[in-house]
Subunit: 435 residues, 2 copies
């Protein structure tokens, strides 16, 4: 393209569905980041992306502008390094388990993460529920801990892809956080700038996730692989269904508690499976375990306590109370417990993960506007998941709330989101799904 | 709604396609106008509107916020008052003729207008091509001229619907000027705040217009009628096809010249017909001519020179050179004339009005970014319209350009936009379409 497109020309071409090359998108985003194009133009572009999706080249152009907005880490001196990212989903706390598990297998895990977007929480919000845990480290301290301890997880450092922070704020303000192409560009900009040579990328799908369908998740996984071409990384994508919330707990401190159950060899089967898969794939990608053995080795590390030991060293190194994994009582819990009581006998046929996520967000566990403080102590425990039996008058869920009124509202919403069918002979299914 | 929606909640509901009541939209837009919500949120909302359309209640909420952002004129003392608006289209200069024509029939025409958006010019851009014409009058002066002379056309006064000016700037910057629901809200906010009791609203359709199809134009016309319910106005909607540019001239001074042809009893048949229809409907709506007689009376006013006489009084009262209507040579014309020559014999089968509009915009007649100055002297004259014969080597159009390079580019684009078919026996069609 001889003459660069003006921001308005680029927007008009995008509106008309005409081809725009990656470099023009990169220039447009860079122009916005350097205050050459106003927020309104970037917001409109994100909105078109959200309404219609982006093509690969536009996604690549966005990613390139984000990476180019800051520094890139060089972790070559650390040996087998790994990083993991997820497109996110309701109750998805698998990273809290997968990080120490992969580190226990010998991967140097260097992960940066963000706070929560939309109707699901972020890993950093969850870690901030751990008393004393420092989510902010200088880059040197961060790399030092990865080398010394085996892993570190910090809030995203603004020297890397600072443009993504600005873009995230804009997307939060404009309701454009859930588009999978924008998510792919954002995730890959962080993963590639982060410098780890092995990447495990979880792509979630279902009502409570960025991708609505399995096919969309597979396409997004392929897109992420494509975006990494030329960067000399070993990329594994893990496609996870989040048709109901992952695990049984939704809320920041509650999800840390649930992660501790898994690290101690128990916890919900679905969460354990996803965490072992991510850690195992990352260990294979990093070359520290043989191909095909990653998941088994991760499960052994859960069973023999080596994952737990690594989790304790990790949290302690980062200033947190390592007892969080063995004594969950050190975590805050909201003052009011309200049970959501089943109004019939039956079997849970489906759980609307999005509705659960929105309800927990309104309880205070997430943000309705970007500057809002998250309440780490609130959330819900699901007593019944899909396929399990419920009894009239018994709790389907326990709500942990700041006050009774918020708890009662949430209980009503949870009952509406858990669909109980009156079926005979569902006992087997219930047994199978129970962890 | 007990608790007003936050801007982000409103955006998220709109993204999900959920119902949002008119008052919530009104509050959201008002919040943006009073700097309570950032440009990015309003830009995202406009982009959703552009991508998917608005429902009636959201359109009404937007209109209400725009009207409520300023004062409303009271023209009750003037008698039969009228105002006219168009959704705009390439080469649509019908207002320049319809205003003095309706005034000649006895309607007190009080019209405010904007500069051009997107790929078509605005009435004010065209009037500014008239030497001396003052597009800015104080409101008292404006009303005084309507009463004394019979009509006045000024640039939109910021005391009325100032919010629409801000919204227009945002839409211009974000490529969201062409959505018909946003246009309907904007047009109706100006028409209702303007205070005239009779309204003639031209809704254009075709590739060069806001509505792509006749059905969309009819729905937009119905929407505008619905938005006026409760406001005690007599509203006439005129649906006009702009499948090829209206008339033969596109460009600001050229369109004034073409309007003068019509006012002197000649000019292109399509433009004359549309202008007479708008003026006639407005005169009927204002009650100054009997029902069913409006168009005939307007045509008589073209034939007997009373429309021309009114046009001269109008322009003179507003400081312009009244000779503009009888001596078009007082209008500026660009220094370079480049003919676009047909490369075959044949009949014009179609003309891509949008492509013509974009080409003339690039020539300088319109704006590529909002602060750009319009060049009044440039534009094109079409020598052949749909159904007319062309001869190889003879001009299809004459381009009036600032320099030869711009003119040559435009000629190439015009040839691509005028589709010439090689048909035998098309002489009749050509004769019929010729004015």
């Amino acid at each position: 393209m001889a003459i660069p497109l003006s921001p308005l020309e680029l927007l008009e071409r995008t509106w008309r569905g005409e081809y725009v090359d990656a470099d023009s998108v990169r220039r447009f985003v860079r122009s916005w980041l350097s205050d050459g194009a106003p927020d309104s133009q970037m917001a409109a572009w994100c909105a078109i992306a959200q309404a219609r999706g982006l093509d690969r080249e536009s996604t690549q152009g966005l990613m390139a502008a984000l990476i180019g907005s800051g520094e890139r880490l060089d972790l070559a001196s650390l040996g087998a390094t790994g990083d993991l990212h997820s497109t996110g989903g309701v109750g998805d706390n698998a990273s809290l388990v997968a990080v120490p598990l992969a580190a226990a297998l010998g991967v140097r895990v260097a992960k940066m993460s963000r706070r929560g977007l939309g109707h699901w929480g972020g890993t950093i919000d969850k870690l901030e529920a751990i008393p004393g845990y420092r989510t902010t480290l200088e880059l040197g301290e961060f790399i030092g801990q990865v080398q010394r301890v085996g892993c570190a997880v910090i809030a995203h450092n603004p020297r890397l892809v600072p443009g993504d922070g600005r873009l995230t704020s804009l997307r939060e303000a404009t309701g454009t956080v859930a588009n999978r192409d924008l998510i792919a560009a954002s995730v890959m900009s962080k993963a590639l700038a982060g410098g780890a040579t092995a990447l495990a990328l979880e792509v979630t799908w279902g009502d409570g996730a960025a991708c609505g369908t399995l096919e969309q998740a597979q396409r997004t996984a392929e897109l992420m692989q494509w975006l990494a071409v030329g960067w000399e990384r070993e990329v594994r994508t893990i496609v996870t269904a989040i048709r109901e919330p992952l695990g049984r707990m939704i809320g920041n401190a509650l999800e840390v508690r649930e992660a501790s159950d898994v690290l101690r060899g128990g916890g919900p089967a679905d969460l354990r499976r996803v965490a072992a898969r991510i850690a195992g794939e990352l260990a294979e990608a990093a070359g520290v375990v043989a191909a095909g053995e990653g998941v088994t080795r991760a499960e052994v590390a859960l069973a023999d306590g080596s994952g737990l030991a690594m989790a304790e060293r990790w949290v302690e190194a980062q200033g947190g109370n390592p007892a969080v994994w063995s004594t969950p009582a050190v975590l805050a819990i909201a003052p009011v417990g309200v049970p959501a009581l089943a109004d019939r006998d039956g079997v849970v046929e489906s759980i609307d993960a999005r509705a659960i996520g929105e309800s927990v967000r309104r309880l205070g566990a997430g943000r309705l506007h970007p500057s809002q403080q998250v309440d780490h102590a609130v959330g819900i425990e699901l007593m019944a998941k899909v396929g399990e039996t419920v009894t009239s008058g018994a709790p389907i869920a326990m709500i942990h709330a700041r006050d009774a009124s918020l708890g009662d509202n949430c209980a009503t919403e949870i009952l509406a989101a858990v669909h109980v069918g009156v079926r005979a002979g569902a006992g087997d299914a219930a047994t199978t799904a129970r962890d």
